[in-house]
C-alpha cells in the first residue's frame, strides 16, 4: 500500500477569525485591567521596592493574561468546532497535517522574544534592588524560635520592635540565631531568608506610614504560624523620638575597662599572628557577611553598612579594644573576654592594629 498523501484543507474552520478577534479584544481588555489595577489587589504599596516589583508583576500579568487567553479560548473553540458530529462514523479522521514550519517558527520566535524582554526587564529591576548607594539607615534583624529582634546603630542591645522612618533608604541585614526563618514585609514586597551563619541583605525605602506585619516565611518549627511582629513606619520626627527613647543617638564613646589600653602602640604583624591563634576560630578576616560564629572583621573600622559595634558603640579603635577586653554577652552571641582568651593589654593593642591595617586595605 503506497503512502496516501492527504492534502490539508486550507480554510481554518468556521468562525476562526471572529474568535481570533474575540481573543484580541478580551486580551486588550485584560491587559488594560491588569495594567491599571493595583496588583496585588488589596495590599498596600508601602514604599520601594514595592512599586518596581508591582510594575514587574503587572507586566508579567499582562503577558500571562494574553497567553492564557490564546490557549484557553482557542482550545475551547477547537474543541467545539472540531468535535465529531453525532452520528459520524467512528473512523472519521481529521485533517492529516503534520507540520507548518512557518507557524512553528513564529510560535518559537515570539516566546523567545518575550523571554528576552522579560529577562531584561527583570534584570533591570533586580539591579535597582542591589543598589546600596544612599542608604542612610542600617538595621539588623535577627530571627529566633520564635520571634524577631532588631539592632539599630548606636542603640545598645537588641530591640523587640522595628520602626522605620519615612522616605529613608534603609538596609536591613537579616540573620538567625538557630534555624532558618524568613523575613517578609508583604507591604514592601520584600523578603529574605534568615539563615544562621549567613547575613542576607535587603533594601527598602518606606513611603507610606502605618503598622505592617513582619512575617516568618520559612518553616521554623512548631510556632512558625504565629511567628510575626510589627514594623512601624512613621515620619522621620516620630522615628527620631522613638529612636532617642531607645537610647539611640547619644553614643557612648570610649571609656569602660578597655580605656587603659595603649592602642597606638600596637603592631599589626604581631596582631596577625595572635589573630590566627585566638580569633580566627570564630571570625574571618573577610567582609562582615563572611560570618562564622562572629562576623567577618576585615572592614570593621570602615564598613559603611555597619556603623556600630555589637554593643551599639561607634567602631573606633578604643571601642574595639574595649570589646576585646571585656568580651561581649548578648542576644546575638557571646564573645569571651580577654581574661578568658589570655590576652594581655599589649596583645589587644596589637590585634586592634592588625584589624586597623586590614580596614585600610
Amino acid at each position: 500500500m503506497a503512502q496516501r498523501v492527504v492534502k490539508p484543507k486550507t480554510n481554518l474552520g468556521p468562525g476562526f477569525w471572529p474568535v481570533t478577534a474575540l481573543i484580541a479584544v478580551v486580551s486588550a481588555v485584560m491587559v488594560y485591567l491588569v495594567e491599571t489595577s493595583p496588583l496585588p489587589i488589596g495590599l498596600i504599596q508601602a514604599g520601594a521596592p514595592a512599586d518596581s516589583i508591582d510594575a514587574l508583576f503587572r507586566f508579567l500579568g499582562a503577558i500571562a493574561a494574553v497567553i492564557l487567553n490564546i490557549v484557553v479560548i482557542y482550545t475551547i473553540y477547537f474543541g467545539i468546532v472540531f468535535a465529531r458530529p453525532k452520528g459520524a462514523p467512528a473512523n472519521t479522521i481529521g485533517v492529516q497535517i503534520h507540520d507548518a514550519p512557518v507557524l512553528e517558527f513564529w510560535w518559537t520566535a515570539i516566546p523567545t522574544i518575550l523571554v528576552v524582554i522579560l529577562s531584561i526587564y527583570s534584570v533591570k529591576i533586580w539591579a535597582d534592588l542591589q543598589n546600596s548607594k544612599g542608604d542612610v539607615l542600617t538595621v539588623e534583624a535577627i530571627g529566633y524560635q520564635f520571634g524577631f529582634q532588631f539592632r539599630y546603630p548606636k542603640v545598645k542591645g537588641v530591640l523587640n520592635e522595628m520602626h522605620l522612618p519615612l522616605n529613608t533608604p534603609t538596609t536591613i541585614h537579616v540573620t538567625s540565631r538557630d534555624v532558618i526563618h524568613g523575613f517578609w514585609i508583604p507591604e514592601l514586597r520584600m523578603k529574605a531568608d534568615m539563615v544562621p551563619g549567613l547575613i542576607n541583605t535587603i533594601r527598602v525605602t518606606p513611603t507610606v506610614p502605618g503598622t505592617y506585619h513582619i512575617i516568618c516565611s520559612e518553616f521554623c518549627g512548631v510556632a512558625h504560624s504565629v511567628m510575626r511582629t510589627d514594623v512601624v513606619i512613621e515620619s522621620q520626627q516620630d522615628f527620631a523620638k522613638w529612636f532617642s527613647r531607645q537610647g539611640g543617638g547619644t553614643g557612648s564613646g570610649g571609656g569602660g575597662s578597655g580605656a587603659g589600653i595603649a592602642i597606638d602602640q600596637g603592631k599589626a604583624d604581631v596582631g596577625q599572628k595572635l589573630f590566627g591563634q585566638k580569633c580566627s576560630a570564630c571570625h574571618s578576616v573577610g567582609p562582615f557577611d563572611q560570618k562564622q560564629v562572629g562576623p567577618g572583621l576585615g572592614k570593621i573600622f570602615n564598613d559603611p553598612a555597619h556603623l556600630k559595634l555589637v554593643d551599639g558603640d561607634a567602631p573606633t579603635p578604643q571601642n574595639v579594644a574595649k570589646i576585646i577586653h571585656d568580651g561581649f554577652q548578648g542576644d546575638i552571641g557571646v564573645m569571651p573576654s580577654a581574661q578568658v582568651n589570655q590576652l594581655s593589654n599589649p596583645d589587644i593593642a596589637n590585634l586592634v592594629a592588625y584589624l586597623a591595617s586590614l580596614s585600610k586595605k
Binding site: 551563619g197 590566627g276 585566638k278 580566627s280 576560630a281 574571618s284 578576616v285
Partner: protein
C-alpha cells in the same frame, strides 16, 4: 519474502553466526550499557560530596584546614598518600593487563595479574586504615574537614572493598569455567568498575592531599 524474514529475525545478514552468539552479543551490549550508566550515576554520587566539600571549604572557612578550638588542623600526610595512590593506580594497570591476558587466552598470566590486582587493592585498603589511624583531624564527626574527608574516602574505601570482593568472585568464576575466551562480560564489568574506583581516587587524592 524479505519482509517476513526480517520479522522472523533469521535474516540473510546473520553471517552464519550461531543464534547463541548473537543473543549473547546483544545481551552483553545491553548489560554493558546498563553498567556504564550505573557508573555514571555513581560518579554523580561522588560528585555531590565533592561539591559539598568544595562548597564548605570555600564559602565557610577562611583557612583550610579549618581552625578548631583555636588550633589549625594539620594537613594530611601527602607523602604516604602518594605512595598509597601508586598502589591503587598500579592495581588498575594490573587489572587492565589481566583482562588483556584473558582476551588472549593466556590463563596463567591472567591469574598472576588478577591476584596482583587483588593484593594491591587490599594493600591500598590497609594503607587507608593506617591513614585513618594517623590522621589528626578530629575524627569523622569533629569538624567539617573530618566530615568531608572521612565521608568521601570512606565511601571510596567501601567501593574499593566491594571491588576486591567483586574481583575475587570473578576469579572464582573464571576457575569454575563460567567465562570463555569470547564470553567474559563479567570480567569487562569488573575491570571497568576497578578503573572507575581508581579514577575516583585520582580526584580525591588531588582534593584532599594536593589542594
Amino acid at each position: 519474502m524479505a519482509v517476513s524474514v526480517a520479522v522472523h529475525g533469521h535474516g540473510p545478514d546473520d553471517h552464519g553466526g550461531h543464534d547463541d552468539d548473537i543473543i549473547y552479543q546483544e545481551t552483553r551490549d545491553m548489560r554493558l550499557m546498563g553498567f556504564v550508566l550505573f557508573l555514571v550515576s555513581d560518579v554523580v554520587l561522588f560528585s555531590s560530596y565533592i561539591f559539598a566539600y568544595i562548597y564548605l571549604r570555600n564559602s565557610i572557612q577562611p583557612t583550610w584546614p579549618p581552625i578548631v578550638d583555636g588550633h589549625q588542623l594539620p594537613r594530611l600526610d601527602t607523602a604516604f598518600a602518594a605512595f598509597n595512590s601508586v598502589v591503587l593506580f598500579g592495581s588498575g594497570v594490573t587489572m587492565h593487563f589481566a583482562l588483556e591476558s584473558w582476551k588472549h587466552a593466556n590463563k596463567p598470566r591472567f591469574n598472576t595479574f588478577m591476584w596482583l590486582t587483588i593484593f594491591l587493592g587490599l594493600g591500598f585498603l590497609g594503607g587507608q586504615g593506617y591513614e585513618y589511624a594517623h590522621a589528626q583531624i578530629g575524627g569523622w564527626s569533629g569538624n567539617i574537614f573530618g566530615a568531608s574527608f572521612f565521608t568521601l574516602t570512606g565511601m571510596h574505601g567501601i567501593h574499593v572493598f566491594l571491588g576486591v570482593c567483586f574481583l575475587f568472585a570473578l576469579w572464582i568464576q573464571t576457575q569454575r569455567g563460567v567465562y570463555t575466551e569470547h564470553r567474559f562480560f563479567g570480567l569487562t564489568a569488573g575491570t571497568l568498575y576497578w578503573h572507575f574506583v581508581d579514577v575516583i581516587w585520582v580526584v580525591l587524592f588531588f582534593l584532599f592531599y594536593l589542594w
